[in-house]
Symmetry: C2
Subunit: 348 residues, 2 copies
DNA sequence: ATCAAAAATGTAAGCGCTTACATTTTCACA
DNA sequence: TGTGAAAATGTAAGCGCTTACATTTTTGAT
């Protein structure tokens, strides 16, 4: 009983077991699995038969330890509970899968410290590379990653100046264009609802974009009323109410993302305001929600899925030492729907 | 130069390096990291100083290999590109993190074969446990998991009969209740837009729920027109159009989820139909979109985040051999908003 | 001071795989 | 049929950690 070399005895089979039952060395089995064309077809068949027979599948911890590569890529995103990241991440994962990599996920909840912790964790877990959102983080983290030779790609943002690998888009330019559309309609007084900007460079860049447009149009950027709040429909509504509760309220409210904008639209309607008759509202991202809003949202379309796919490819190419663009900027487009119009009579 | 024991020389430090610089054995360092109270405070300080000095962090591949545990839990979900899974997954991840576990993610794209492949991959990658959506899959997979002693928890569904560990809700019962609401309004002829049911037991159960209500109300279940389609707003619209294009169309269309329902609502309005004046429509899930729809959706609220949290706890407790409910059913609630009304005059 | 038991630490054997290097087999060509 | 180079396979040394077991140190009761 103790000599049962056959080990059906409810143990998980190892490479050595496969080798034994196939009558070859462990090296050969390993080659069958990893370097198929270094092996005779006959041997391959024998080994594969053993693999099937035993129900063998490799132990990745061991493989990773021995090979010094995990084929795992980590992603640290603010939250999945946000369609834009969820969708990008989904595309990212699909592309990784096509290249037999797996995805290790962590979320930072938009907190810088937590993100740092997650970076440490994921690298310790052996992520071969990392997907990060935005540029903003302690320089020591970039040093840490560099020291460990862990490629990190920044997504959702794009800064041609930065040495960091990235796949993103021009938050600032996109929002500037949208602001120009708004100003072009004759609005002179804008309000802005933003995500918290403290450690969110995308949010900051978008605001800067509006400011750009404002000063370019000869308006005073200091007049732009900005409220920062957490990402949610409800908060968008609250912020809207606040912005509109002043003496001479803005005629257009631009929002840092669609979720906030939808909240604003809803609240506007609740307040009995016409959109865009009494007040124009814009979003950013073009999530599914945008076209479904009570009044379909004028917003900026961002190619989230493409971003995910590109990010995956970049990282994989880098790991494979294939030539590879350091940084790619994806175009965004302005999506004019129904929430942007001219300011009300006498307000222009 | 070659004798530099100090190895700043851009190598990632190992346990042995820490041990050497702290002047203790590797075992002691390992204990400091994993079993802190088996170690003197003095030693601990020395070791920690070395850890900090070298910037050491453990290699999880090695740790996993040696310890036979990865502290990694895998989740295989149909897609993250669907708010309900994204949100649940987010909560799941947060809870795992609280317990120092990481999340390995894969998606099956609602394809049974792909799911099987992903199960194999994730277990090979050393996932200590698995989160799976729904019960439907080849029995051999359950056997496979059992043989490897990998606890797998089924979420999003609940079958008290099944031996499988689960955290879910009663898809059938919930949809039955909603159908009863619909029938209670006087509707006699219903249509149903479903996700593909082939390998989706949640979708099947929901249909069964409607059928239950129908036959209980003395109506003929065979009259229920059902269209199966892929998850998307657009497809919801198409299906709606098809259901309504018959001689004597249904007065209420129930949908397997909110996304399909929103598509239906939008299309109804495009067709010049009043909702619920001309046709009632219902959804399922209560995602954010639901209350934002052109007409706010009557639907079933499902506690996705709680489900994620419970799932994480169950799995972790199981891994820690803590006592643990085999299966928990979370309550759902019916969310009556605006898309359900009485059938049009003369149609009741 | 003494000594046994308890606490802390050390030693060293793997965990399951990859891979450099060594050995054997195969094969084209003379 | 014999030869050498190329192809296939085998041997065995780790990869960085955990942990059973052995050894040393500390502790506290005498």
């Amino acid at each position: 009983m103790e000599e049962t070399k056959d080990l059906q005895n409810n143990m998980v089979p190892t490479l050595a077991d496969v080798a034994r039952t196939a009558g070859v060395s462990t090296a050969t089995v390993s080659r069958c699995l990893n370097l198929p064309d270094q092996v005779t077809e006959k041997t391959m068949r024998r080994v594969m038969a053993a693999v099937d027979h035993l129900g063998y599948s490799p132990n990745y911890s061991a493989r990773s330890l021995a090979a010094g590569r995990t084929n795992t890529i980590g992603a640290i995103i603010p939250t999945m509970d946000n369609a834009i990241f969820a969708r990008g991440l989904q595309a990212f994962q699909e592309e990784l899968h096509k290249n037999s990599c797996t995805l290790l996920v962590a979320s930072s909840s938009y907190e810088e410290d937590l993100e740092e912790e997650q970076i440490k964790t994921l690298t310790a877990r052996g992520a071969d590379a990392l997907l990060l959102i935005g540029y903003h983080r302690q320089p020591r983290l970039y040093e840490y990653l560099e020291k460990r030779r862990i490629p990190a790609l920044v997504a959702w943002a794009h800064d041609p100046e930065s040495p960091q690998m990235s796949v993103g888009f021009d938050n600032r330019g996109a929002m500037k264009s949208l602001a120009q559309e708004v100003l072009g309609r004759g609005h002179k007084k804008l309000g802005y609802i933003s995500a918290h900007t403290e450690s969110n460079d995308r949010a900051r860049d978008r605001i800067t974009g509006v400011l750009d447009a404002l000063s370019q149009a000869g308006l005073n950027p200091d007049d732009l009323q900005i409220i920062e709040t957490n990402y949610s429909i409800e908060n968008g509504g609250k912020a809207f109410r606040e912005l509109m509760s002043v003496e001479d309220p803005p005629t257009a409210i631009m929002c840092g993302n669609d979720v906030l904008a939808v909240g604003a639209v809803r609240t506007a309607l609740e307040m009995g305001l016409q959109v865009p008759g009494d007040v124009s509202i814009t979003g950013f991202d073009d999530i599914e929600l945008a076209s479904m809003a009570p009044v379909p949202l004028t917003t900026v379309h961002v190619p989230h899925r493409r971003m995910g796919v590109f990010a995956a490819r970049s990282l994989i190419n880098t790991l494979d030492n294939k030539p590879q663009d350091q940084t790619v900027e994806l175009p965004t487009t302005i999506c004019l729907r129904k929430t942007l119009g001219a300011p009300p009579q006498g307000k222009a």
